[in-house]
Symmetry: D2
Subunit: 411 residues, 4 copies
Amino acid sequence: MAPAGEKKNILERLDAGEVVIGDGGFVFALEKRGYVKAGPWTPEAAAEHPESVRQLHREFLRAGSNVMQTFTFYASDDKLENRGQSLSFTGRQINEAACDLAREVANEGDALVAGGVSQTPAYLSGKTEEEVKAIFMKQIDVFVQKNVDFLIAEKTKKINQEKLQYFEHVEEAEWAVQVLKSSGKPVAATLCIGPEGDLNGVSPGDCAVRLVKAGADIVGINCHFDPETCVKTVKLMKEGVEKAGLKAHYMSQPLAFHTPDCGRQGFIDLPEFPFGLEPRILTRMDMHKYAREAYNAGIRYIGGCCGFEPYHIRALAEELEAERGCPPPGSEKHGSWGSALSLHTKPWVRARARRDYWEKLKPASGRPFCPSMSTPDSWGVTKGHADLMQQKEATSKEQLEALFDKAGQGH
Amino acid sequence: MAPAGEKKNILERLDAGEVVIGDGGFVFALEKRGYVKAGPWTPEAAAEHPESVRQLHREFLRAGSNVMQTFTFYASDDKLENRGQSLSFTGRQINEAACDLAREVANEGDALVAGGVSQTPAYLSGKTEEEVKAIFMKQIDVFVQKNVDFLIAEKTKKINQEKLQYFEHVEEAEWAVQVLKSSGKPVAATLCIGPEGDLNGVSPGDCAVRLVKAGADIVGINCHFDPETCVKTVKLMKEGVEKAGLKAHYMSQPLAFHTPDCGRQGFIDLPEFPFGLEPRILTRMDMHKYAREAYNAGIRYIGGCCGFEPYHIRALAEELEAERGCPPPGSEKHGSWGSALSLHTKPWVRARARRDYWEKLKPASGRPFCPSMSTPDSWGVTKGHADLMQQKEATSKEQLEALFDKAGQGH
Amino acid sequence: MAPAGEKKNILERLDAGEVVIGDGGFVFALEKRGYVKAGPWTPEAAAEHPESVRQLHREFLRAGSNVMQTFTFYASDDKLENRGQSLSFTGRQINEAACDLAREVANEGDALVAGGVSQTPAYLSGKTEEEVKAIFMKQIDVFVQKNVDFLIAEKTKKINQEKLQYFEHVEEAEWAVQVLKSSGKPVAATLCIGPEGDLNGVSPGDCAVRLVKAGADIVGINCHFDPETCVKTVKLMKEGVEKAGLKAHYMSQPLAFHTPDCGRQGFIDLPEFPFGLEPRILTRMDMHKYAREAYNAGIRYIGGCCGFEPYHIRALAEELEAERGCPPPGSEKHGSWGSALSLHTKPWVRARARRDYWEKLKPASGRPFCPSMSTPDSWGVTKGHADLMQQKEATSKEQLEALFDKAGQGH
Amino acid sequence: MAPAGEKKNILERLDAGEVVIGDGGFVFALEKRGYVKAGPWTPEAAAEHPESVRQLHREFLRAGSNVMQTFTFYASDDKLENRGQSLSFTGRQINEAACDLAREVANEGDALVAGGVSQTPAYLSGKTEEEVKAIFMKQIDVFVQKNVDFLIAEKTKKINQEKLQYFEHVEEAEWAVQVLKSSGKPVAATLCIGPEGDLNGVSPGDCAVRLVKAGADIVGINCHFDPETCVKTVKLMKEGVEKAGLKAHYMSQPLAFHTPDCGRQGFIDLPEFPFGLEPRILTRMDMHKYAREAYNAGIRYIGGCCGFEPYHIRALAEELEAERGCPPPGSEKHGSWGSALSLHTKPWVRARARRDYWEKLKPASGRPFCPSMSTPDSWGVTKGHADLMQQKEATSKEQLEALFDKAGQGH
């Protein structure tokens, strides 16, 4: 394999009009495999169970991913130790291990390594621009040292009580982009917003313009909403950027869950988050549709976030096989659009070996006692409310019971 | 770790009243990870990508599985080469590799290794009892040599055109049990039937009696139906065995898909099989319910089949933590019943950190344009019909188009 | 119009192989129109608002009904006065008015008048055969005097606290048939049971045999279940009668609500009964299907019960137009199978002017937050339980609150 | 009863802050009763079967309606005779009969008579303002002669091929209001639009301002959308009017069908229109919710359109009993919020005799094979397209088959 330096970098690829396939969601996939704890969602597996992280990287590579995102986050040691988690690894150890794993697997193919930087608690605590930027600077330290190929300012893979983990405010994302640019590496920036814009009501078009002006080479959306919503939002970003006479590349990394019913804050408010989302999981046919719609919308960096398993990514790569010039490696174990079903014993299953069948299928839930949409929780709690206050201590039993009562009344 | 020989064997455990947690479905899980091809469903990954099989074994072990089933099948070399697959490994190489992987991971914990034997094409071709038994004998050759801990006569992990891959006829399962008993190892036998009995109409109770009389130590059900249906069917088996004054242990390894709408032949006839089953995937809450119902029904060997991912198995082990005396190793990364959500940022998500919430949740599909149940295909094709005939050649384009037309008319 | 005496009677019609179309459900239709109170469900409208009852009879006649069932019940005066209802009419006045209304409208076409006799509280109170029969005798007094054309022993149109209003026990229905036969008029007998048989577990086939032996000319099913279930049950009755070497005519008068999810006791146990049943209402396409299936099953007296509106009955008559030799009068205002949509302004609505379109349509509920099936209430309360005890007094506030608590716990 | 002249007129009532309950939909209700033909939807029943129209008026009066809308339309004789309908009545005869029926029943209570004027084909054919106004003038001729109490410019009760029957363009509605005002009677004007505005994109607020400036005393929305959507749209109208410093009264007369999935053109584009809408019918609980939301939004004239049956109107009047000062007459046969179920035999049904139960109920469809939402037809046919062209002749078989083919491709 060629050393990283000899691969075309992310901007060379996008400038040449190539399709770049992203990877899928590590926290959700590794939670189901037993290596990440839902709740704190910390990524210590990179150091603690490296084989599990390496294996998942490999599966995405086989599926066609052109980018290995490091399974990292800004992990100050005090954070990792709090709330009785007392992990055996420092944040730096985890981040370094994650970079090494991503590079190791990226070098098994033609993939690039991307390091991710996320929202900071400092911003929400009302720190100044300088303070927040200092934190971002610290975050990219390991990435620069480990020489990742480019940087993504995005929702990280970690969600916990200390930090609201997403760039839901364009201002902070701008600051992040400004800091990341100083590394000299290409910078992508994704927000977790829907067509209605960020939590302050800045429209997707305006958000995109601000990110591009701040220096982002690639802008887009990740997490929180399903592919249909994300593509729609990136379209609005693209319109905004073009209207402003600017240029950028576009990316989308949506959920692999159908979320037609979620509100402005995305899937976290759905009653099914995070342990009842199964009926919403997208099929590979849904993924073909997403890949085509994203491509048609002018998006060329097409990947996924929470819920994306390797076969979802493979479906993206297969849909765009003609545009990419080759199938993903993993297609050796897949007959696109069900074609391998022609080998099946039963004639009615062989009759499903065609694209037409799967495109028209409206898959049943097998759950006649369940609804098809939910009402998102929306407690109307806003920043500053006591229930949102950060606290060092674990949530107490009394605090929890007060919440349970509150939830009970709401139903 | 103790050598295999020093562990309590499967019957010692069951005789002592212990709960034995099985593992989940390898073909479906590895298909999604990119190592198994849907259609031929062959297990060459054991030799070709051993790290993927090892990793999945490990995840099940962490989840609490007490049994590692070998990822094998009766693989004569001509079978592996046909239809242009031209695999680089012989059947024996694959089977040996699979046994070694299962043993390696079993030894990392307190798990046993089980070798599986499945239905033969010979039976369907009308061969004599002697001929069929000779084939079973050949199948267990590797298992005996590799000294697996016990044998399971069941649906194998492979479904292809040459073989109807399940024990859907009790007579053949009886023959298999008789041969397996000759190995001197404990023998379990599972059928792929629902409450209506086998394809010849033999009731679950009568099936179970015949298997026990043939020598099976453990009898039960695997694959084809959801947990609710499988538990119901094992109950009927147990009633039959007890009514006959016999004794046995009981096991169930159902699908992790809801199948309230499938007919006698199970999930294969559902229009969603195999690429549109996502909305039917069971949640971990569904798994708690299954584990409890199985336990209450007197079933002590409780595992899963197609669709079961590691977190599903972990939920079984967590539900039965009191009965088993300890949580599964993987619970270090899991707050049972959502308890770790008490660490979440948003108060309404913290309010979900309780069993009550998840037990009552009726998860929405997010698919308002889809139905909740499907009509199974049922072409009325029976044994001997031309469409079911085995053929050496790949299904031709003309044959497929004839099937597509037929399917089109039916809709 | 010919006087009643010159019309062919019900048995002459059925013996000649004619299709007899029944009418629909008066209590439910008149409840929605504002003349019947859900809860007591008493039929005083016949005397109090005769125009409303006459109008509904006329609509059914136009829709093709060949039978006008009297809107009556066994109304002893003390019953009508209890619980503060203090109606201004005696039971006899109501019953006479109902007979007159049915006859008046029947004479506007070729319809017959049927008088209905229902289950008695006496039976449930453990009275003797003689006592129960005496009550039935009293019930038919008005019918004989008013010279109705035939009698139906069935669920009446009234459901109240004093009486379980259906023939759910074949024994009492037998007694009713014996008494009705003494009138010299043809007798039909319908039960409110599903395929599992009556509340004592007597099978549909055995029930039918006993009714025929008791003298019933026509046997069948009414109320409690949807058409699919009712047709299935009447089939079982027919098989039983034929197996016993007997002869009879068959009728079905099902609900116009889909009830795939209800248990042995029918739709009353569904949580939606009686004020949330709208999403279950059958369309006219569903009715075409019912009429055809009933006809194919050998049923020749085909009508409806609760939920049937005039257009439902018209759909039955239209489906069987060829067999009946003419369309119903009301078809002058109906293009069968949507054909009149060819007059519509919008081309995509004109494109719906065909049977094919409506037969394939899977109508959406417009209710994505609702499930498609419900869990029936089933408190396990059996005869003799305190909660089922009859009482003269209105249910007290305390009694109600105890029930509410009980219901609350059950959810 | 007081003569019409002595009742408070519509504006006196609204000015005094009274709630005015409208009536429901005649074409849909009478179609189900067998007196109106779906497709042409003509109102000849007023002359041909006056008892059916009188009865429906009476049921709405009992249900609490304060307004009887005449069952009329602009019926020139050539229109009634075309396409082989050859009705036996002239348009004038029908309109006069309808006025007489409405007045007769209005005088049985405290209701007013409203005459309705609708969109003209002339407008769509590009006629001048003068020509269109002349046609409106002709329409109100009978109403003035019959001395109706006020006029409503709205969707009429008739939909046919000659006319797009709704005020979907605010300009034409303005002209209608100007003409109606010349009668000296109070004028209400309703549009068939959703929150997105009229077909030319004029917003609800702007539409309302123009109607009020044209002279409308009452403005609002009718038909095409469900209550939730209509209330939302009237709110926008009210905001517009108030922002413009104007004053008006507000009304809403929505569908009684849930339409969360319909597009800009409303329920006509739903695949279920008009023969598969049953699963979408609102329950009485839905109506309570609608009445309260409309009231809270400042709407005081609250009624219904297609799908509203008498019991739906009664639920509106019952929800607003306190505000209106009395229950509707029909409540003598209704226990509000299920209270009369306390008389039921079965304890679990008695446990439903409470508001809480019915408010929380999510009624199941009993249709697990159907979706919960549909994709509206949207052929992209716009004004001027050949498929929309008016033609004197009936749609030919060839024309229909061309449409069927087109529809077939679309699915």
